[in-house]
Symmetry: C2
Subunit: 513 residues, 2 copies
Amino acid sequence: MFRTAELGRKVSKRDFERQEPVLRQELLQIQQELREDGSFPVILVFAGVDGAGKGETVNLLNAWMDPRWIVTRAYGEPSDEERERPEFWRYWRDLPPRGRIGMFLSSWYSRPVLDRVFRKIGGAELEQRLERIVAFENALSADSAVILKFWMHLSKKAQKRRFKSLEKDPLQSWRVTKRDWEHWKLYDRFIEAAERTIMKTSTGVAPWTIVEGEDHHYRSLTVGIAVRDAVRRALEDARARRQLASLEKAGKNTEGGDAEDRTDTVGTVLETVTVLDSLDMGLSLEKPRYREELARAQAELNLLHRKALERGISTVLVFEGPDAAGKGGAIRRLTAALDARHVQVIPIAAPTDEEQAHHYLWRFWRHLSRAGRFTIFDRSWYGRVLVERVEGFASEEEWRRAYAEINDFEEQLIEHGTVLRKFWLHITKEEQLARFQAREKTPYKRWKLTEEDWRNRERWDDYAAAVNDMVEQTSTKKAPWVLVEGNDKRFARVKVITTVCEAMARVLGDGND
Amino acid sequence: MFRTAELGRKVSKRDFERQEPVLRQELLQIQQELREDGSFPVILVFAGVDGAGKGETVNLLNAWMDPRWIVTRAYGEPSDEERERPEFWRYWRDLPPRGRIGMFLSSWYSRPVLDRVFRKIGGAELEQRLERIVAFENALSADSAVILKFWMHLSKKAQKRRFKSLEKDPLQSWRVTKRDWEHWKLYDRFIEAAERTIMKTSTGVAPWTIVEGEDHHYRSLTVGIAVRDAVRRALEDARARRQLASLEKAGKNTEGGDAEDRTDTVGTVLETVTVLDSLDMGLSLEKPRYREELARAQAELNLLHRKALERGISTVLVFEGPDAAGKGGAIRRLTAALDARHVQVIPIAAPTDEEQAHHYLWRFWRHLSRAGRFTIFDRSWYGRVLVERVEGFASEEEWRRAYAEINDFEEQLIEHGTVLRKFWLHITKEEQLARFQAREKTPYKRWKLTEEDWRNRERWDDYAAAVNDMVEQTSTKKAPWVLVEGNDKRFARVKVITTVCEAMARVLGDGND
């Protein structure tokens, strides 16, 4: 794999000085267009052999372009705040928004490769971690990110030469450490792990470019040109897409085509029975028993949470359901049993403009709490496959791929040791109507009812179908969907708290999960 | 001070049960109005004697209101990411946006009081730290925040009784720790420090309410009612202000009043000579000497930054100046000497909607980097007293108080050990014209020139007056304004880098600052 990067390719100083000013201006120009276009971010990953010029190249790109619109990040040991979240949290929070460039050194590739080199993990675990990376990059790319990855290469001999020459230069000698020489001895292992990594993670949407690192003129131009071409192409694609979209729109308008006309009739007929129909919506709890069971469940929850805090085990809960299903009430019965200092309830409404400038999962990653805390989402990332699907805010391709993205996200929470439960609070269509009408009559509850609620109601069956698919696609053993029969609020609240207790007990206690 | 809080006031269970449902509904209602109004945040601080019910009260308020719109925070030992920034960074990042409520336990008051109790600091230092708090709260309040602070009190005897009774209850005994008893022995010292604290920090805009903590019915109603009334009053004020503003606007429109008519003529005549006129705008550097000096300065900067990284000393630089003054170019010469991994350049343009929902300093606090890094602001918090003042985006009261707010912010950076320099890159009006014209002619630079640039140019003298005041008000020994003669770009760039080197050397080296 690396043979071609040991050919000794060079660019003469003269050639470099001729090409550099042109390339530089082109890069600046493209960066400016990227900002103006604002429809996608650019992610550049740099990895490779030490001494092959990763850092220098990143610095040069920063010097060639306008550093104000570039985010450059390198990662050492995680901070304690990072350690308390899943591994990828630190990368998610540094992702550039649309219109900007992010450069990543010792990125998400660094740990898996080094862990393999030092035999902390076996080949199978390496593969698994590379799959995680592929899923991450696929998700970003599907959301329009341009991803380029550069492997800066040096042969073992060349690396030795490079270290020796740096050591001789008094201004550069600090760059070579004992650790570098130790790593050098493991060169072959390193290359082996790297080869595997590149092989598994060079995808159509996030390809690796192997760059011969010995001649700095050659490597700088190679990387610069690759960046220029990729961004240029992406800008052209973005423009073409927009043109096409506006043409299509114009065409539709003259044809009088109906945007509503997109339902798949056969599917609709087939899917009339959904998982929601299997619920026994008559389940209820009498008031005295409710009081008793609620108090018991809340006391248990309180105890479990104190235990979880001590052990640093976090809990993430998701609440979804039709309007007026009682999500807010159920959440309040939950939080009443918890210490408010260690709980955050995140209501999900329209994204802010900062959130809009990122992948749709970004705004959930950013809310993950530190170790031991409760994070409760009132509506969640499932909006993508529910309201966004039903209302057509997300394209079919977008919501279809969201299942895999969501599963991957939740898997990371689980692997980190987080307790995760997802509640679908269900009510029947009749019960919803009754609750809407009651809200209309109660002055201080009237604000809760909006035009939108009535509109959503008309789409009841579409939502039921979406819920059915969602449960099918994303209910896993460790992160199951809990369907809650919600016509009786008392029954629903107790079921929610009891379920959370069971889930926590399993992870904390002597359970055999 | 605490005598009135040891009177044994009580509310009977019956009275509580009669009042609670009403208060609860009022609080919910008010919380809803607060969200809809969206023009100010509410900040509730809870402090006091252990066992006096701080935590319980916060939990109760969370249960009474809708926890989705409340942020509750308590602070233990700072995380490493917090330790690497000034102390108040952790509080700034948790502040609630407009329309929401933030509840703070063991807040910014906890450390000064405890440090004083344990004699880690003397009385004079306590006073200083309380002044910092007053400045913080004043700034938030001036930006519309409603701030209420509750001191939950127990007499020494009552605290003992409370601990004993908690210890007897198997479900509560975990609440009482060894540390609590140790603290109890220091009760008198604690009360002394608390008294001083309350005396110094109970201001008109952020008053302390001392709450007798023994009877939980009494304390819950007292706090709940205080919150209800304060928020209600603030909502009324906000409405009245809006009405007044729209009346005034209507009045002005019919009178044909001119919004431009607000310049103070006497001031304008007097201020024609500004600090900028004292600059020798003829300063320049020939190309060969420039190259040499730039290279030397960059090499020194690189060395100093490596030293700073090792020692964890951060650098914050601010760049301001007229359009086309060469800020971007100067910043690029700086970053070219640095390792891009440890630098962030923050371009300040219009705030995002999340930023808009906070105090104007919030968006600068959030960008402070971890230890040892460079943070370079291309335009900055000084926008408040420059463009916002000149264009009338900030009211006179707002930009006038900004000087003190800015000085306080910068003082915190300095105290944290950060190197801070502020550059005003100056050019003459003629030079600006020449650069605008050159930009118009160069295709790939044309985007840099906007209508706004021409409009700003018309306000040249207003800006000069604003700069004069800004330098006068905010140039301090440790955080000086550096006025850079920018007609010659080469001279300016070298001066900037040299200045940064000197500042860093002073903090890092054998300097005697």
